[in-house]
Amino acid sequence: MSIRVFVPADSSALSVGADLVANAIGDEARGRGLEVELVRTGSRGLFWLEPLVEVETAAGRVGYGPIASGETAQLFEAGFLTGGAHPKALGRVDDIPYLAKQQRLIFARCGLTDPLSLDEYRRHGGLRGLERALALGPKATVEEVLASGLRGRGGAGFPTGIKWRTTAGVAADQKYVVCNADEGDSGTFADRMLMEGDPFLLIEGMAIAGVSVGATRGYVYIRSEYPHAFATFQGAIERARAGGLLGPSVLGSGLAFDLEARLGAGAYICGEETSLLDSLEGKRGQIRVKPPLPAISGLFGKPTVINNVLSFASTPWILEHSAKAYAAYGVGRSLGSQPFQLAGNIRQGGLIELAFGATLRELIEGFGGGTRTGRPIRAVQVGGPLGAYLPESLLDTPLDYESMAAAGGMLGHGGVVVFDDTVDMARQARFAFAFCAKESCGKCTPCRIGSTRGVETVDKIIAGRDRPKNVQLLRDLCEVMTDGSLCALGGLAPMPVLSALNHFSEDFAKAPPRAAAE
């Protein structure tokens, strides 16, 4: 019998040479006349260990990493096919503390299997949620999602069940289910990892939504910066269709649901749900004024459920194990699990799925092991480019929607970006405005003009011109943008700026750089 060896084909793993390692293992095995079945999987999300090679042994799956392609001969010499000792040996992968300490509901299967094998998906517990939803019927399914307390994982945290119930309650000749996979926030990669590592889970979640609200068509809007996720997901759709998971009769239920993946074109604003809908319709990705809510009048003017990848991907677990079991995870009004993403200047960056309520410090120090440069942590940005920069003194803030808001920040899509003490927070504040200026859809004035005026004002402060007056002007501008913008881009761009100003005011009071002084 051949021995199964697993090498991820996740694009992060590819970025550090996973293809070279997989090829080298194949060549080496052939050269030695050994029968090895090479399985390309998603990633476990322990990215500092990539490329992470796993072998199925009598003791379970054992890992070696990070492996360079030049090290594969050594691995064979060390007898890695039977779990032999090697300086890069990690033991049983499930026992690695980083993984063992997690509470993986959504990402339980990611990295274990060939992401495009529907059989493997079933064998590892897939489709049970959809089967239960079909048995329960539409109304009870929507109530189950509502009772679980699941809130939108894209960042806004709106209850998913309410969106579903609204769309289910509208009579229409056509309804849609749209997945927002325009994961544009820096520091986030959970959607990408899921689409590359366990795409059938997203398809299953969307099918649950489709059959329970009466939608027969779905779209997944994937950003163009994710070419690998797009290709994998398209492959998964074809296989799901061939396997009867999508099509005129979902799992033989007689209910139709089909999906199409669409590629974005490099516009951060299309992560805002109404911009995304306009973009899907073939227009400029400009935001829409709400109401009407997309749940009532969304894509092509039809009732549309639009949710983030992780929201849909949470629903199969909820249906399989019950709303009550899901709500047992988490704290307060933040129920269930959140895949946090640890990124930036961090020794052990990766995906950490935990029940809500763990603190930033547990994440950064407990899992991440401090900065990669070895220097002290100075600032942590949580929730993407529109999230707050928090100082070291706030690292004990629990990661849930309410606690983060109380600390003047937001959880967003769960991205955590760590900066060491070399960071210049006035430059970061300037970037927040510059990014908003570049990515503004242009529909409302506070965002379109305010962001540019913001860059200019921060420049004046950095250059040391009328500092007290310009700092006051900057605060006024932030107030106008927060209160007067149509959507979260202009409305939240002040958050990183004000947090930088409030927590790191010394960076706005430094001696001006010579070149900038006039």
Binding site: S12, S15, F47, E281
Partner: protein, 159 residues
């Protein structure tokens, strides 16, 4: 990345016709055109407008809205360099100045160096920052040495 077929009106029309009846066809058609020709030639604007029953102004409005679409050919290899916060925390701006000072390659400018470097914001490889895509292939933990090697390979290829 993008293909290098010379621009051809008939071929463009055929690509447009293939998807003109798809709901919300604008972006899929523009992606197909750019993938085939490497950019979106202005001569397709009236064709797309006609096929989708929208005005030429609306068509141009869509093309110019999205950062991905180029209206003129880009030569050489394409390096999409992430300059968002996570990559900033690991020194991507140092790579930008290295490209300019050492190799005289300015990001987001056509410089005929054999390597076109374009700013992108986030490639979802933030645990291995700085990140880039070279002709669609992901690169993590990018550093100056790797940049030097990429430039050398790109210039060797075009000379």
């Amino acid at each position: 990345m993008s293909g290098r077929t010379a621009f051809d009106l008939d071929l463009a029309q055929a690509l447009i016709d293939r998807k003109r009846d798809t709901p919300g066809a604008t972006l899929p058609i523009l992606h197909d055109l750019q993938e085939r020709f490497g950019y979106i030639d202005d001569r397709v604007i009236p064709l797309v407008a006609e096929a989708l029953n929208i005005s030429r102004a609306e068509t141009l409005g869509v093309i110019s809205f999205y950062h991905d679409f180029h209206r003129s050919p880009v030569d050489g290899r394409a390096l999409k360099l992430c300059r968002a916060e996570s990559c900033q925390s690991m020194g991507c701006e140092d790579l930008v100045s290295h490209l300019e000072l050492r190799h005289r390659i300015k990001v987001d400018e056509d410089n005929h160096s054999g390597l076109h470097v374009e700013t992108v914001y986030c490639l979802g490889n933030c645990a291995l920052s700085p990140a880039a895509l070279l002709d669609g292939a992901p690169i993590g933990r990018l550093d100056r040495d790797r940049i030097d090697a990429i430039v050398a390979a790109a210039q060797g290829k075009t000379q």
